[in-house]
Structure formats: structure tokens, C-alpha cells
Amino acid sequence: MKKTGLKTNDLILQTITKIVLFIVIIFSFHLFFAGHNAPGGGFIGGLITSGAIVLLLIAFDVKTVKSILPINYVKVAAFGLLIAILSGIGSFLFGVPFLSHTHGHVHIPLLGDTHLATAVIFDLGVYFVVVGVTMTIIQTIGETE
């Protein structure tokens, strides 16, 4: 991130990043989906996803990462909030109080009998907000000199 006169070559770092990045992201997805039954959830999943992106930022620089992931993180956070609120409003459709969740077994063609909970939608909102927030803060601070 810091501009120096000397051009350094971060070959090892960049190569390892390319491999580790996916592992980290998959781990974060795992944490997110496992959250309901095992330690994890939207919050920690989101944090780890942004950790992966931060790794990318360290290995490359802000501009490169921005060209790879042309994402406006403020909008991501807003999107997450929207999902969370909508998941709460959705319970009005069934005539129950705000943010009432339910769960049940659903038969999905490929996966077979799956246990699903509507709370996951809310958790997804949390996930996006956390990613959006951490990335907004880090990117904003990183861009200033």
C-alpha cells in the first residue's frame, strides 16, 4: 500500500495469496453456513471474508484489487441491511410479529431432504453488512495519504 521508490517483487506473497485466498473464502462460507449448528455465523463469516480481501489488498495494491473486484462496499452494506430488514418484514406476510423466524425440512431436488431456517436469510444480511462495513473502512483509510 505504501509507495516507495524501490520496486519490490512480491512474487511469493502473491502466489501464496492466490491459493490461500480461496481456502480462506471457503472457510468463511463454511463458518457462515455452519453457524446455526456449530460455532460461526454471519458475523464471523463476514469478517473472515473481508480478511481474505484484505489479504488481497496487502499482496497487490488498492487499484489492482479494485479492478479485480469492482465492488462498491457501501452498497454491499446497504444491501445487507435491506436483506435483514426484508427478512423481518417478510413475517408480516404470514400475520406474525416482526422478525418471527421459522424452520422446517424441505425437499430440494439435488440435495434431498434439507433442514432450512429462515433465520439464515437474516444472517445473510448480517454477513453482507459486515463485509461491506469492514471493507469500506479499510479501503477508505487505505486510499488516503
Binding site: 463458518l31 446455526h36 460455532p39 446497504a78 445487507g80 435483514a84 431456517a117 437474516f122 453488512v129 469500506t136
Partner: protein, 806 residues
């Protein structure tokens, strides 16, 4: 809403029209449009005269705030009718006078008449309402419109000073009065004055009776310019003369008189009421007339004269209140009769005198009696009016002032016959002060008329060439002066139509049904004590008037620094300075100091509560056994905290702090909170990185590593906070009662929430609402960081970052 309600509201409604009339008809003086209104109201109120003579008053009620018992109740009896007639009658004359007094080219007439009409409506409301809260509302509108009228020439510094002074003093009194009304309400349970009067016998022993009495009198004394609150009245003379004539002689200053008269049935019979009202009144009479003599400005002289005459009416009301205690009340109620009669007389002659002063000012350009003189031949009509007014004020026959002065002496002498409230010891003060005050009244009345109109004409000192005033300006004072003469010659004209009903409403309990007060006012009643007192007043007055230049040095005896005005100015200044100093003493602008206040308060509040409630306890029964890991981690955390506090370099402090954070994460692991441990680890990393970043960007100058200086206060405060919180935590956990709801969550986590991770199920399902707002907090923080940094850089890298040009 009856027509009676509308009569009060008409002036307000008409005030809305005035600016339009002013803008539309620039050629015609706006006053001509206003004039019919008070005349019509006067005629309207005249219709009630036969009514109040024979019957009880007329009550008409309109609901305003029924749930609080506040109604717009209008009550017409003798007293309120007398005031309503004064307000509308003198109001008409003043409007007529103002048409000639204020130039339509130079003055902001629309503003003037709006204020005047507001005042008139409010004053009618004060005297006609039966509800104390409504009375208070109108009372404050009179203060407010009086403020606007005094400051009418707002570009003058003195006007603004006078307006502010009268506002502060009368609003102080108004608020006290509100307090009195509320106390009365607490005692009686009603806001209605008549119902309060009906219950008056039952409240006399109440503990709130005396506070209510004092608060109410504060309101009356400030409004009616009694000692020591009279100081606003002379400064209010900066108002245009019609305003002074209307507000500050005939109507507003009598609102306090009205209040005292109206509440006499409630409070009369108590020694406090008798002594406070009479003594303050009589002293105001003396003080006002004594100081009127030294004035050189005509209006200032009249202002002090008003103060003194109001004191006289007030003292009469006080003395008259004792009549309730006697069987042969007719003998003592003469004081009330004198008060009411003098109220009318004062309105007539003082109104005309103010108008005379205004004419002199208008035609010569000055009101200074040192410059005036010899206007008799130039302004014969004005002189005649002035002479009548001044002689009436001095109490000379055959004018009406003479009659009320005689009755005043009668009332005061009869105090000597009373044997209540220790009148035998201090009662003699009343007639003595009354007599001395009357002598000074005589002197300044003579000065007013003779210094202005007789003597040598000093043309070179006068800014304008004097000549007689236009006829329109003369009509109102002529009307008033002829009333002075008519009431002088035919004093019984009003006796049973207006004065007797008014007396009846001041002292309703004295009369049985169908009974009447016996009123006979006559010029001659033999060689009585009153007669000799008047003779003494005249002889001594003439003597002192002629030798005035010799004894005027008496006034220098009072040091300039000791006056009440000085006291007022000084206390106002001191109040400002002191509060300024007080504020800057503790509002230092350093967050450090505010934190000391906050923490010190917390220590004291929590500590004191715990000690008072004796809630410090320590119970180790439920305590879990301490393992070796916990011990090691605790030592690491303590070491980290101490390092962070004592570290010389900031970098060390940051690292030490994050070591504490990671140990905390390990604690979470130990205490089996995997979600917390995960989150704590990541968040600790992020915050350490942010700390390092902030540290990295510190300005070079401040970067010098140095130990924090040791401050004893900070040490004590931090030790106190630590101790208190520790005590609180230990006591709270050892005092724990009841079961936690954790069992419920553990049991129903899967059946209701569909997950085995209880923490997560609580976060997203059981307590999802909290989480919703926590992520909102996060989003706000992100936006704040984003906008703070972007705004600081002034948006110069807008093109680069691509955020905004999407």
C-alpha cells in the same frame, strides 16, 4: 361564545386588520379606523350599568380546556364593569389624542395601533374574567404589549432599557402571581375566582394560605408599581405620551389594584393582608410623592405621582379589608369607598395631566421644567386643563380629588379606632405618613402647573416656537377635565350606579340580600380632623413650595449609589457576571475535566447508594473453582494492563493492549464461548491494526515518546472507578436471586430456532431485533469513516476512486 366574549376578543381581531388598513389607506390616519372600536365597546359596557346595580354579576362561560377546569369565563360585576368602562372610555380618548399626537408620515402607525389594541383586549380580559388561569394569560399579554409600547421608539437606547426593565419586573410579578393562583387551586380545587371566594373561610387556616397571599401580592405590587418595584414606571416614560397616559396612569398599573380588590374577599381578615397591603401602600404614597418633587421632567414627575397615588389606593384597600372584622362595618368600609372613588378620580385627572404634558412636549419640544415657563398666555386651554388636573391631584376643593382625599384621611384616621392586629402600636403610622405624603403631593402638583405655565417665558431655550395645540389634541383632556369638575360638583352621580356595586364586589360577604352600602359623598362635613389635616396640607404645602430652593438639598442626602435603580442595574450586571464566571469555572473546554466530573459523580452516586442501601456483599458459595489456566491468563492480562498504563512508548501500549485482547479471546475459549473467541480474535486484530495506523499518522511534533505525567486526581478517580465497579460486580453476583432464562434457550434452541448453536440462534432468531440494530450501527460507523475521510480530503480524489462516478 356570547357577545361579551367577543367584546374581549374584538380588539385582538381588529389588530389583525390594522396593518392592512394602514397599507391600503395611506392618506388617512390609521387611528381613525381604530377609534370607533373602543367607543362601541364603551357604549356596550354602559348597558350593564342597570344590571350590576340590582342583581348579582353576570357569568358566561365558554369551555377552553375543560379537562383542566380552565374555562373562558366572563364575569361582570360592579368592580369589573368599573374597570371595563375605564379601559374603553379612556381608551377612546387616548386613541383620539394619539391621532393628533403621532404623525402619520413619520411614525410606524400600524405597529402602534396593533400593540395598543392588543393591550386593550388583554386588559379587558384581565378585569372581566372569572378564571385565574385566563386572568394570568391576559395579564402576561398586558406585560408583553406594554413592553412593545414602551420600546415603540426602539432606536432609542433609553426606550429599550425602560422596556426591558418593565418587562423583567412585571413578568417576575406575573410568574409569582401564577404561583399564587396555583396554590389557591391546590387549596380550593377550582380556578374560578367566585368559587374560591365562596370557600374563603375554609382556607384561612391552610398552610399554603400565607405563601399564596404573598405570591399574589408580589404580582399586584410589581404591576401596580408599589415600593420597591416602582422603579420600572419612571423608565417607562420613554413611551409615547398616549401610551403613558393610557397604560401607565389609567389602566395597566391599576391591574394590580384590581387584583388586590378582587381577592380581598379571599384574603381580607388576615393580619398579614392588612399590614402588607396598607404599609406598602402608604409607604409607596410617601416615597413616590417625596421623589416626585425633585423631578425636573414633567413625565417623570407624573410617573412618581402615579406611583404615589397607586400607593394611596393600595393602602386604602388594605385598611378597608379590616372592615370585615367589625359589626358596624359602615364606619370602616369608608376606606374601600375612598379607594374606588379615588381610582376613578385618578384615572380622570392623571389621564388629562399626561395629555397636558404631551401637549407641552409636542408644542415646545421639551418637557424639562427648568426650560419651561410662562406658557399661560400662549396655551390658555392647556393651562386651564392642567390647573384643574393639578388642583384635583393636590386635593383642593371643588374638584373630585378633594373629596377622595378627605375620605382617604377619614379612612386612615379610623384605623386609630380599630383594635385589631396591634393597630394600637403601629396604626398611627398610617395617618402620619398619609399626611406627609399629601403635603408633598400638594407641592409637586403646584410645581407641575406653575413651573410650566407661569413665570418667565424662556423662548431661547425652547426647541420649537410654542403655540396652542390643535383642537383634536385638546378634546380628550377637556373631556377628562370636565369629568374632574363634574365629579367634583356632583360626587353622588356615580354613587349608586357604579361605586356601590363595585364596593359590593370587593366585600360581598358584608351585605345580606337586598342590602346596600350607604354612600354619601359631600364637600362639607364640619370642622373634623380631616378638615384640619387638609388645611395643614395646604398651608405647609404652600410654605414648602415657596421655599423649595432652600430645602431641596435634602435630596442629596440619599447617596446616588444607594438608590433602587442602582440596586437593579447592579444586580442585573452582577447576575450576568456571576453566572458567566460560574459557567466558565466548570465549563473549561477540556474533555479531561468533564471526564473527571462524570467519573467522580459516578463513584459518588454508585458508592453512596451501595453504602446507604447496605448492599455490599461477598458470597463465595456459588463460585466456580479457579483453575491453573485461568490464573495464568489473569496474570497475563494484569501484566498487559499495567504495561499499557505505564508504557513509555505508544507502540508498547498498543501491543500490551492487544495482548490483553488476545488473552480475553483465550478466556472465551476457556469458558467455552467459541463464537465469542472467534469474533474477539478477529476484531482484536483489526483494532490493533487501526491503532497502529492512527499511531503511524501522528504529527511529527507530537510523536515524542514520553511517560504520561502522574496526576493524583486522575489516579484517585481511576482507582475509585475500578474499586466501585469491582465491588458492584461482586455484590451483584453474590446477591443474585432467581433463575436465568438460559435454560429456556438451551431447551428450545432447536425446536423453535432450528439450530444447535444457541448463541447464533439467540442472535438471529430469539433476539434478532438487537442484531438488526447492531448491524445498523456498524453501517453508520462505516459511512461516518467514509464521509469523514472523504470530506477531509475535500473530495479531490473523486475521479480516482470511482465510488462517486458510477
Amino acid at each position: 361564545m356570547t357577545f361579551l366574549h367577543w367584546a374581549i376578543l374584538f380588539p385582538f381581531l381588529f389588530a389583525f386588520m390594522v396593518p392592512f388598513l394602514y397599507k391600503t389607506f395611506r392618506k388617512i390616519h390609521t387611528g381613525w379606523f381604530v377609534l370607533p372600536l373602543p367607543i362601541c365597546l364603551f357604549i356596550f359596557f354602559l348597558q350593564f350599568l342597570p344590571g350590576v346595580k340590582y342583581k348579582e354579576g353576570i357569568v358566561q362561560t365558554v369551555k377552553w380546556i375543560p379537562s383542566l377546569g380552565i374555562d373562558f369565563a366572563v364575569y361582570v360585576d360592579g368592580l369589573s364593569l368599573l374597570f371595563a368602562l375605564l379601559i374603553t372610555g379612556i381608551g377612546s380618548l387616548v386613541v383620539l389624542y394619539s391621532i393628533y399626537y403621532l404623525s402619520k408620515e413619520k411614525e410606524q402607525l400600524n405597529a402602534f395601533y396593533v400593540y395598543l389594541l392588543m393591550f386593550m383586549g388583554a386588559m379587558l380580559g384581565v378585569v372581566l374574567t372569572d378564571n385565574t388561569i385566563v386572568l394570568y394569560t391576559f395579564w402576561e399579554i398586558t406585560s408583553f404589549s406594554s413592553f412593545l409600547l414602551i420600546g415603540y421608539w426602539h432606536y432609542r437606547e433609553r426606550s429599550r432599557y425602560g422596556a426591558l426593565k418593565s418587562m423583567l419586573i412585571t413578568v417576575f410579578g406575573g410568574l409569582s402571581m401564577l404561583g399564587g393562583f396555583i396554590l389557591l387551586y391546590i387549596m380550593t380545587g377550582t380556578f374560578s375566582i367566585r368559587e374560591t371566594i365562596a370557600q374563603s373561610s375554609s382556607i384561612a387556616d391552610n398552610g399554603l394560605f400565607i405563601p399564596a397571599l404573598i405570591l399574589l401580592l408580589l404580582g399586584a405590587f410589581t404591576k401596580s408599581a408599589q415600593f420597591p418595584f416602582y422603579i420600572w414606571l419612571p423608565d417607562a416614560m420613554e413611551a409615547p405620551t398616549p401610551v403613558s397616559a393610557y397604560l401607565h396612569s389609567a389602566t395597566m398599573v391599576k391591574a394590580g389594584i384590581y387584583l388586590v380588590a378582587r381577592f380581598t374577599p379571599v384574603f381580607a381578615g388576615s393580619a398579614e393582608w392588612f399590614w402588607i397591603v396598607s404599609l406598602f401602600g402608604i409607604f409607596t404614597l410617601f416615597w413616590g410623592s417625596f421623589h416626585a418633587v425633585k423631578q425636573t421632567d414633567l413625565k417623570a414627575m407624573l410617573a412618581f405621582s402615579t406611583v404615589s397615588q397607586l400607593g394611596m389606593i393600595m393602602s386604602l384597600l388594605g385598611v378597608g379589608s379590616a372592615a370585615l372584622l367589625f359589626d358596624h362595618f359602615e364606619f370602616y368600609s369608608v376606606a374601600i369607598l375612598a379607594a374606588i372613588f379615588h381610582l376613578i378620580n385618578h384615572a380622570t385627572f392623571k389621564g388629562s395631566l399626561f395629555m397636558v404634558a404631551g401637549i407641552v412636549d409636542h408644542e415646545t419640544g421639551t418637557r424639562d421644567i427648568r426650560k419651561l415657563g410662562g406658557l399661560m398666555s400662549l396655551m390658555p386651554i392647556t393651562f386651564t386643563i392642567g390647573l384643574i388636573g393639578a388642583f384635583s391631584m393636590a386635593g383642593l376643593p371643588p374638584f373630585n380629588g378633594f373629596l377622595s382625599k378627605e375620605m382617604f384621611f377619614t379612612g386612615m384616621i379610623r384605623v386609630l379606632n380599630m383594635d385589631v392586629f396591634q393597630t394600637e402600636t403601629w396604626g398611627f403610622l398610617l395617618p402620619v405618613l398619609a399626611w406627609i405624603g399629601s403635603i408633598f403631593t400638594f407641592i409637586y402638583s403646584m410645581m407641575f402647573v406653575f413651573k410650566t405655565f407661569s413665570g418667565k417665558l424662556q423662548l431661547e431655550n425652547l426647541p420649537k416656537k410654542p403655540h396652542e395645540a390643535p383642537i383634536g389634541m385638546l378634546i380628550p383632556p377637556i373631556v377628562l377635565a370636565s369629568l374632574v369638575v363634574i365629579f367634583g360638583f356632583f360626587p353622588n352621580l356615580l354613587a349608586y350606579s357604579l361605586i356601590e356595586p363595585a364596593m359590593k364586589s370587593v366585600m360581598p360577604s358584608l351585605l345580606k340580600d337586598g342590602e346596600h352600602f350607604h354612600i354619601h359623598i359631600s364637600h362639607w362635613h364640619g370642622f373634623t380632623a380631616e378638615f384640619w389635616m387638609t388645611v395643614g396640607v395646604v398651608i405647609l404645602g404652600i410654605f414648602l413650595y415657596l421655599t423649595a430652593s432652600k430645602w431641596k438639598r435634602v435630596y442629596d442626602l440619599q447617596p446616588k449609589r444607594m438608590t433602587l435603580n442602582q440596586l437593579y442595574d447592579h444586580s442585573l450586571k452582577t447576575a450576568g457576571k456571576t453566572s458567566n464566571r460560574l459557567t466558565s469555572f466548570y465549563m473549561t473546554g477540556f474533555i479531561r475535566d468533564y471526564l473527571v466530573y462524570i467519573f467522580a459523580f459516578m463513584i459518588m452516586a454508585v458508592g453512596a447508594t451501595m453504602i446507604i442501601k447496605q448492599s455490599i456483599s461477598f458470597a463465595a458459595d456459588d463460585a466456580a473453582p479457579v483453575g491453573i489456566y485461568e490464573l495464568i491468563l489473569s496474570i497475563v492480562m494484569i501484566a498487559g494492563s499495567i504495561t499499557a498504563v505505564l508504557a513509555r512508548s505508544r507502540l508498547t501500549a498498543i501491543i500490551a493492549l492487544s495482548s490483553v485482547g488476545y488473552s480475553l479471546a483465550l478466556f472465551f475459549v476457556l469458558f467455552r464461548a467459541p463464537d465469542l473467541a472467534l469474533t474477539q480474535l478477529v476484531i482484536e486484530t483489526v483494532s490493533t491494526a487501526l491503532f497502529l495506523l492512527a499511531f503511524y499518522f501522528l504529527p511529527e511534533l507530537q510523536k515524542k515518546d514520553k511517560t504520561r505525567r502522574f496526576r493524583l486526581v486522575n489516579f484517585i478517580i481511576s482507582a475509585g472507578v475500578g474499586g466501585i465497579v469491582t465491588l458492584l460486580a461482586i455484590s451483584a453476583s453474590s446477591e443474585r436471586t432467581g433463575k436465568t432464562i438460559a435454560e429456556y434457550f438451551l431447551e428450545t434452541s432447536y425446536s423453535l430456532g432450528g439450530g444447535y448453536n444457541v448463541v447464533n440462534v439467540i442472535l438471529v432468531d430469539f433476539r434478532g431485533f438487537d442484531t438488526l440494530f447492531e448491524i445498523t450501527v456498524l453501517a453508520i460507523a462505516a459511512l461516518a469513516v467514509y464521509s469523514m475521510i472523504r470530506l477531509r480530503t475535500g473530495g479531490k480524489d473523486v475521479e480516482e476512486n470511482g465510488f462517486k462516478n458510477e
